[in-house]
Symmetry: C2
């Protein structure tokens, strides 16, 4: 499989998938061959590119002789297998086959890792092969390696980040250009930020997959997609964004991974939801399709990683970084310690997290309403940080809006409070409920 070529070994690289990322990876592997050889210590030979249909039209020019539909043969002959097909099957089968044959695997497949990560890392451990996946989260932004290596001597308390560029593009253009959700989505689709089926992005599945991957790594605990509390941006309206702006906030779809102290030890909470961020927070100035990840570690303090959250060539940069590392390891002959789920912390019930709520309700403009509302919060042990009442005079009756910012309380207390408010005769409607993060 490997041969000595003068002083240098050759490693055979199989590429599975030739989409927007795959074709860029192929191009860079071919164009930067000598640079990559110097950096990895081996000649990296692109052995073949697995495609579904050799004759299908492609954006990028790929050497036709490298295209193949024979997955088995390609994988069997490779030292390093790059999986960029996406989806669960056949990607899962190919990755397992590659690992069983002793190849190192580089993948950008977040869906696969968020659902079958445990199986894949175990297969890698059994044969002493490596699985790298920098490209699976936040495209070119180095976040996996810093979590795994740079902070390996530290203890991570919390990660929160903007990890989905499409929804950030939508929320950002609603905030900065005053667009409606529909308009913003239409433009995002035109610009290629949203897929034909946008639900993966809009409903927060994509962000939840990435959150599961980050949490697994940060807390040495296998977190899968099902463990993630997920809420998308479908319910975020232009009004909510305008209200947030007036209150000094911006709405971002956040992925939050947190270590909680529970009775009986630490537990993990992983969640995705639209949240309010103070406009002064560095996260508030993450515009367009960019991503940013905050990491709070015990010793290192807060760190932020920022950059493009998508894009073929950007993601290809992350893939190639992993390929070079895999090649170095392949030559050094050892992979060190594999992916660890040794802490196996339990998942904290969602009700146990503590946040601040910003609750906007419509009430009848009658005497004593604010007192009633304040009483409901107090009944649940939730104290009020700010309350703002505005009144709209109508012909016959008036309605008032109250925006309540709570102090920090458990999700349980806060959601019970909102349920009681919704049931109360004093409250006409609950207009919006958002959590405040990043404080």
């Amino acid at each position: 499989m490997t041969e000595i070529d003068g002083l240098r070994r050759t490693l055979r690289v199989a590429l599975l998938g030739a989409g927007s990322v795959g074709s860029q990876v192929a191009r860079l592997l071919l164009e930067h061959q000598s640079d990559l050889a110097e950096r990895s210590g081996a000649r990296l030979e692109l052995a073949g590119i697995l495609v579904r249909d050799i004759d299908a039209p492609r954006d990028a020019e790929l050497p036709r002789e490298l295209l193949t539909t024979d997955a088995e043969a390609l994988i069997q002959s490779a030292d390093i297998v790059i999986e960029l097909m996406g989806g669960i099957e056949p990607a899962r089968g190919y990755v397992l086959q590659a690992l069983r044959s002793g190849a190192d695997v580089v993948t950008g497949n977040k869906a696969l890792l968020a659902t079958h990560g445990a199986e894949i890392f175990e297969a890698a451990d059994q044969v002493g092969a490596s699985v790298s996946y920098e490209a699976a989260v936040a495209a070119a932004i180095p976040i996996i390696r810093p979590l795994r290596d740079s902070l390996a001597g530290d203890r991570i308390k919390r990660i929160f980040g903007i990890v989905n560029g499409s929804t950030n593009y939508i929320l950002d253009s609603m905030d900065r250009q005053g667009l409606s959700a529909q308009e913003a989505q239409r433009i995002a689709t035109e610009l290629g930020y949203l897929e034909a089926d946008p639900s993966l992005d809009l409903e927060g599945y994509d962000a939840a997959q990435k959150a599961a991957i980050l949490a697994s790594l940060a807390f040495h605990t296998q977190v899968s997609l099902d463990d993630v509390h997920r809420q998308g941006i479908e319910s975020v309206t232009a009004d909510m964004i305008a209200d947030a702006r007036r209150a000094g906030y911006v709405i971002k779809l956040l992925a939050v991974c947190e270590r909680l102290s529970e009775d009986g030890g630490d537990a993990v909470s992983v969640r995705v939801y639209p949240a309010l961020i103070d406009r002064e927070h560095p996260m508030a100035s993450v515009h367009g399709g960019n991503n940013a990840v905050f990491v709070e570690a015990e010793a290192a303090g807060p760190l932020m990683f920022y950059g493009a959250g998508a894009g073929g060539v950007q993601t290809a940069s992350a893939v190639l970084g992993d390929v070079v590392s895999a090649a170095r390891r392949h030559i050094a002959g050892g992979v060190g310690v594999g992916e660890s789920a040794r802490q196996s912390l339990p998942m904290a019930p969602f009700g146990h997290i503590t946040t601040r709520y910003q609750i906007t309700i419509e009430v009848a403009d009658v005497t004593g309403v604010l007192a009633t509302v304040a009483g409901i919060l107090s009944d649940h042990g939730v104290s009020i940080a700010t309350a703002l009442q505005t009144i709209e005079r109508g012909e016959e009756s008036s309605t008032a809006r109250i925006v309540i910012g709570t102090h920090r309380a458990t999700e349980q207390a806060l959601s019970d409070t909102v349920a009681r408010l919704a049931d109360s005769d004093a409250v006409t409607r609950v207009l919006s409920v958002l959590r405040v993060e990043g404080e």
Copy 2:
């Protein structure tokens, strides 16, 4: 030197230096022993701590039996040597001794790497040992590893960053609290941001050392402190900061590492100077003692890394990350490809860089002055982007101030222009000259 302890090997770790970082490293090594063992695959035994005087008073409680003044014996017995003494000698001698005895070295010593990096990396290569130095630049912020590993398949075009927390603290408090340079320095000293001899920070030496380290790594070219064009913040006044603010800028001490296309191939420019940054740029919101590094890579696009720029425990986090990696490598039995200076790009003359200048001059308020000034710029092929003239009426005569923002031009043309302006009869004084970066 190593022994099997059940299933696990033990690696002996020697710590040289017990200052603010060293004592935190010792504490974390002892407190997090089982975590570190899980993550590195080996028990990390703190074999000893080299100090100058065993009986000297210390901030942190360190086990007295670990303290030693016998450097030779301690280093000789170690698998991993952590050097946190600072300064050139005896640190250099100890590091070389450690490498010759086959130990992996982890160091936070930027002065040593910026002046003797080539010698140290060569010594490491000869024996197949590793030298890690995440802690040498920007404390806990993972920047060395992303440059070396994550971006190993990419090509870096430019790095620019705030890499000195002390000067950032001073400039930030001048900007945000309107302090004078003296006041800001006094407070920075009180808060421990500045050393008793503050010249290393204020004159840009510290930033220049870090710039040399980053450029060496990014461009695979040995860049030493002497190659860095260096200007500190001594000349930055409250007036300059107020002027910058009015023009929508903030002044930051920047380290810039750039790949330039010269006739005959690429060259490298590395420089440290106070520069104007647009207030909308993410770098502008790096406050207090924080650091931030922007990396522009060909494929990955712009990336930013942000966090605390100093602090004992923060820096200790970076050291421990390196220790865990060194331990993993030690066990895997290979270090892969060493530090590379294979590109050996030439250093570009400072005059070859292109930037924009913001020139503030005082002129006599007489007819035709602006035309004279504009003529001088035009003579040097420098075109004007913005010009703002303000007039101060005095009792007898009036003076005018002109602020000129140039378009991008070579440093040579720009500095020649300023020299001609200074010589011109039309110009009373050149008040300030600042470059604009981050565009």
